[in-house]
């Protein structure tokens, strides 16, 4: 039988263990905690600054350097919401984002499935060519696109935004989905084939649910891309009522003479807010899918 005295750890050993534990904790803090804190500050500070500035009075930003507003108020937001055309800009942004998310996603799902599952000639080269639109600087596309769309009579229409946004989003979402689809063991799909599923059933009932985190990731990127897009809308739209929120945000600067940073930041916050909500909602769905999917 072991006596209590024998069982008690040696004082020297105990202090050694304590030092080792402390070293481990300090090391973890230095390696993970500090970089994480820097990253959080780096990403949230500009948003925080914008939110706080949007609550300041019109000229307060020129008068004091403090971060917190002296008299927090919602005047900036009232001004923005009262702007003539705000609801059209919001609607335009919403519409093009919905179309430029759903259409590229549907097309990418089929394209990615083909790339991931079927061996055909020039497959790799085609997949590489898919990336070309992302490699070419967007600015360099503006002039030819403007000229092309003018010839087609599409300038100042939703179609021009649907087409350009969709074309721009497809390569990215296809590449993401190819990776996710290819990672699904081929046997699972063969098993569905043996179970009597045709290609459509396999894709809808087996592949897509398993690759759901990938679909959501691609969707989030499409949404972000369309919602924040600026270069194309600037080049292809010149009617005020057809502007999107980022475009109007840019125009706000010129139209206000002396910069009203409270209004400017309120507009920014209202522009970012829907995206933030979508991010938070979908991020949770991605995590849920990854956990419940549990692909070996």
């Amino acid at each position: 039988m072991v006596s209590r005295a024998e069982r008690a750890p040696h004082p020297m050993r105990e202090s050694g263990m304590f030092t080792a534990g402390l070293r481990h904790r300090v090391g973890r803090f230095l390696l993970i905690g500090i970089p994480l804190a820097i990253l959080v500050i780096w990403t949230t500070l500009p948003i925080l600054w914008a939110v706080l500035s949007s609550l300041k009075e019109s000229l307060e930003i020129y008068e004091s350097n403090t971060l917190l507003p002296a008299n927090p108020n919602l005047d900036g937001y009232r001004t923005v919401l009262a702007m003539r055309g705000f609801d059209s800009w919001l609607f335009n942004s919403f519409l093009v984002t919905v179309v430029a998310t759903i259409v590229p996603l549907v097309l990418s799902i089929f394209a990615a499935y083909g790339f991931a599952r079927y061996a055909f000639r020039f497959r790799h080269i085609l997949l590489l060519l898919y990336l070309v639109p992302r490699i070419i600087p967007r600015v360099s596309l503006i002039v030819p696109l403007n000229s092309l769309m003018s010839d087609l009579g599409l300038i100042n229409t939703y179609w021009v935004l649907f087409i350009t946004y969709t074309a721009s989003a497809i390569p990215l979402s296809t590449w993401i989905l190819v990776g996710f689809f290819a990672a699904i063991p081929k046997e699972i799909e063969e098993s569905a084939t043996m179970d009597g599923a045709n290609m459509w059933h396999r894709l809808r009932r087996v592949i897509l649910p398993i690759a759901w985190p990938g679909v959501v990731t691609a969707a989030v990127l499409c949404i972000r891309e369309a919602w924040n897009e600026f270069a194309f809308v600037l080049a292809l739209i010149n009617e005020t009522s057809m502007r999107t929120l980022p475009y109007q945000l840019y125009m706000l600067k010129d139209s206000m003479g002396v910069q009203d940073y409270a209004v400017y930041n309120a507009f920014t916050v209202l522009t970012v807010l829907p995206l933030l909500v979508v991010y938070l909602l979908l991020e949770r769905r991605v995590v849920e899918s990854i956990v419940s999917g549990a692909v070996k």
Partner: protein, 358 residues
């Protein structure tokens, strides 16, 4: 005799310029349990996948129930298949996994329910129906994979190395369960494995494949007792058959095999072999006895493996390592000199050039 359920005629498969199956001829009767066995790369899985419809046929025909099915898509062949990795749908519960094929076939709800419950009962899955595959053990996943095949009540079951991912104990248990299931349902089964013990214990008909060809087919014990080639002799049986190359020579007692290094292997007196012929002498480890006296082949023990019921012995005989199985408890240790007595009535002789049985 009934018409075979599956017939393969001159079946060939090529991947580009590489031909992997060279004219397979095989007929599988209704209710049979056929095991395709062979080493990795022999073409057994490719053959199974061709029967399933997952691989195209380069030439030849696959006939099922009297109908050529070469161009019939896999989903329309009415075959159920169990994959090596189980290939369960990870996002579906066990119940949904079982019901998927029935949904595809638009089976009425009550029939679906009945079949799922019946399969779950047979395979002890009742308590697991609401779980996801990730929440199951390897053996349970294997059962779900079988259940998924079972609910369809197919004419033909295909198993592609279904036990390879299980540990040794579970493999033995599942082997017995699959065989019991077959005896109960009497459904025609084609089972692929590289494990000759699985082939021997489960099959009605063993098809030994090598390098894209059928080396020999027949009931398990027939193949074990009368292997048609050196390859089959070597492949079936654990430990493997002792195979020693030599030349037929004459002695006073009749023909013997001269294996070089003063090693002379006895044959039964009536053996009809031509003196001077180059042969491979085959003898299963259980057909070598440790002699009581000096009579027999002089050997030196090199390794002793007590396996409980039997003891496996490796011995050096004239520079050749031979394996011996004894059901007696042996107290031999490496380095001991012993005499080995072959059971000459059980000797297998093969042509050393063609490998064919003489």
């Amino acid at each position: 005799m009934s018409t075979p359920l599956v017939e393969l005629h001159e079946l060939r498969k090529s991947f580009g310029p590489l031909e992997v199956l060279h004219g397979i001829e095989l007929a599988i009767e209704q209710h049979a349990f056929v095991v395709l066995v062979g080493p990795s790369g022999c073409g057994k899985s490719t053959l199974l996948r061709m029967i399933a419809g997952l691989e195209s046929v380069t030439s030849g025909t696959i006939v099922m129930d009297g109908r050529v099915v070469n161009r019939v898509p896999a989903k329309d062949r009415g075959i159920a298949m169990v994959f090596q990795s189980y290939a369960l749908y990870p996002h579906m519960t066990v119940r949904e996994n079982l019901s998927f094929s029935l949904e595809m076939a638009k089976t009425p709800r009550d029939v679906k329910q009945e079949r799922i419950e019946s399969a779950a009962g047979i395979l002890y899955l009742d308590a697991l129906l609401e779980r996801f595959p990730a929440q199951l053990s390897g053996g349970q996943r294997q059962r779900v994979a079988m259940g998924r095949a079972l609910v369809r009540e197919p004419e033909l079951f295909l198993f592609d190395e279904p036990l390879s991912n299980l540990d040794a104990k579970l493999r033995v248990e599942m082997r017995a369960e699959i065989k019991a299931l077959h005896q109960r349902l009497r459904s025609t089964t084609i089972y692929v494995t590289h494990d000759q013990v699985e082939a021997m214990t489960m099959a009605d008909l063993v098809v030994v494949m090598n390098d894209g060809r059928i080396e020999q087919l027949g009931p398990p014990l027939e193949l074990y007792d009368r292997p048609a080639t050196v390859f089959v002799a070597d492949f079936l049986g654990s430990p493997a058959m002792n195979l020693i190359a030599g030349t037929v020579a004459e002695s006073e007692a009749g023909p013997v095999i001269d294996a070089g290094d003063d090693l002379t292997l006895p044959l039964s007196p009536g053996s009809a072999v031509r003196p001077g012929a180059e042969v491979v002498y085959g003898l299963r480890p259980e057909h070598l006895r440790i002699g009581d006296g000096p009579a027999g082949l002089a050997a030196t023990v090199s390794l002793v493996e007590p396996a409980g019921f039997e003891t496996h012995l490796h011995a050096d005989v004239g520079g050749q390592v031979v394996r011996v199985i004894s059901t007696e408890r042996l107290d031999a240790v490496p380095g001991d000199s012993i005499a080995l007595v072959p059971d000459t009535a059980r000797v297998h002789l093969f042509d050393s050039r063609t490998g064919a049985r003489l």
